[in-house]
Symmetry: C2
Subunit: 306 residues, 2 copies
DNA sequence: CTACGCTGATAACCAATGGCTATGACGACG
DNA sequence: CGTCGTCATAGCCATTGGTTATCAGCGTAG
């Protein structure tokens, strides 16, 4: 036998104990009097104890009922506290937007501009930025670590996400200043196809392919010089001569440090940088507001999904 | 919407939170894993909060779950305390027998004898004696104030009670020593029919009739000199000359104080004194044991009801 | 003294709940 | 690559918790 009760039954019990009157208690509880009677009897049966004595002159607590009453009240109080705490957490979570990103979006104050527009529209909201490792091309959307994220298109499982493009940038090639091609002001992708490339982790899926420019190779597989999972690794790998890599114009400054230069590349498509969200979150007010702020700040042609 | 939960669901929640593993928690709780899953989801839906995050690497508490956990544990603890308190009261009540009586049964140590037999058979039991006013002929059985009671037969609502006779005693007449009949050693009831009688309260029903010897009056109503509700009142009414009254042999000594005497009466039936109980209590171990002790101590022919 | 009103209890019914078994989806791992 | 182990889902059924309608006891007002 279980000794568990429904908290509702304790509410009923306390109400009757306080009113000492079933009909009045039932009104206060917004249930019918028979329902209350039945529940109290069921409680008495379950606890194997007579809680009330009903006789001519109304209703009275028995010894068992009197013993139980303070505990029932404490249970109700504790549970009310717990529910309040839960509501508080819920409110805080609902008012916090987590923005995922791999490297900082940079791009001339993009993030502060979005942020100020967003907080103007939603002053009560909090924004948390979250750095996500490069092996997650969704920058935290997939596992729920982020509510919205700055990502490179295309996304894997594209049908699960909505997005709005914030920048479209030509891809450059990054290489050592001692590389034979470094002498040219611009290079053609055809000159790069046999070079060893630095690649994202295999987990990155279509994104890895994109930065290897797989589409532009006509089915011929690239040589992989190394795998990289951060800006620093990329720079070190370049300097070590493990390979070359493509990089978005807006990110070029991150690696053009000592010995590394970038050059425009002909023959490959530009990259699209976007703010993305899980499709089912498209209705959340904070998500909508953040996406709207992005559109206003970076008014590209919107490739949103409906 | 109600925010009430079933305590069971909190048990489930706490178990999963502690195990961080549905299947193991389900085993510990002796329910199937789907049932547990369903209940947790229902709880989450009811509270409108995600309590657990289920992903690849198992189950983890969310912020909401972590916030709720301590309250859930406190609710369980408080309720466990309450249930324990209730059980304690229940045990105490179950081991206590309340014996109702109007005046003390007296009769040469009847009560101590019964008590010692009873406690020999049920050492764990407590006996509480309870004095009940004369206007309740069931001496507390009717309103639950007593579990068993020493009463005079016949009882009102006789079908509701079982009993065992402990004494059968001739009725005496009590009167002042200055009364004309006081000179006789014995009197005939016919000599008393026109005397004013002291009577029990009307509430006493058949018992009042019995002590007025209504059956022996052939339909002629008695004169009522006064109504009495205690030994002291009876004595005072006798001394005041308000009337005479019948009294059981075993009770004679209670009122034969200064100026009051008793005389045997011919022509009326004796009285039967019994231990009675509510019929539905006939199965309770303590009630059975007490009745058995009565039978052993006062081995009258038993008029028990089955 | 009867008729009424108010008490809590009961009956009959119905939707929702809570449990079960069987099965599915999916990642981990040999 | 198949199998195992995880949690989720589906379909089923008994129990629960609510409803309205009605009853039985009892005090009280005509």
């Amino acid at each position: 036998m279980t000794t568990d009760v429904h908290v509702r039954d304790l509410r009923y019990f306390v109400a009757v104990a306080e009113e000492l009157h079933f009909t009045r208690a039932a009104e206060k509880l917004y249930v019918s009097q028979p329902a209350l009677s039945k529940q109290i009897r069921a409680l008495e049966r379950q606890l194997d104890a007579e809680l009330f004595r009903r006789d001519r002159q109304g209703v009275a607590l028995t010894a068992a009922g009197a013993a139980l009453l303070p505990y029932a009240q404490r249970v109700l109080a504790v549970w009310a506290e717990g529910a309040a705490a839960l509501a508080e957490v819920g409110a805080a979570e609902r008012s916090t937007l987590v923005v995922g990103m791999s490297t900082s979006p940079g791009r001339g104050g993009l993030l502060p501009a979005i942020r100020s527009r967003f907080t103007a529209a939603r002053p009560e909201a909090n924004v948390r930025l979250r750095q996500v490792s490069w092996d997650d091309p969704t920058a935290g959307l997939a596992d729920g670590a982020a509510d919205v994220a700055f990502v490179w298109l295309p996304l894997p499982d594209a049908e699960r996400y909505g997005w709005t493009v914030v920048a479209e940038e030509p891809r450059l090639v990054a290489l050592l200043d001692t590389h034979p091609l470094a002498a040219r002001a611009e290079v053609d992708f055809a000159d790069l196809v046999d070079e060893p490339f630095l690649a994202l982790p295999p987990d990155a899926g279509p994104l890895r392919d994109h930065w290897l420019a797989l589409d532009e190779r006509g089915g011929q597989l690239p040589r992989i010089g190394a795998e990289i999972a951060s800006t620093e690794e990329t720079y070190e790998a370049l300097v070590a001569g493990l390979g070359i890599c493509l990089v978005a114009t807006g990110n070029a400054h991150l690696i053009t440090l000592g010995g590394v230069i970038t050059r425009p590349v002909h023959g490959i498509s530009p990259s699209r940088y976007a703010l993305a969200w899980r499709r089912e979150d498209g209705v959340r007010p904070l998500v909508r507001a953040y996406a709207e702020a992005c559109r206003l700040v970076a008014p590209m042609r919107s490739a949103d999904s409906p």
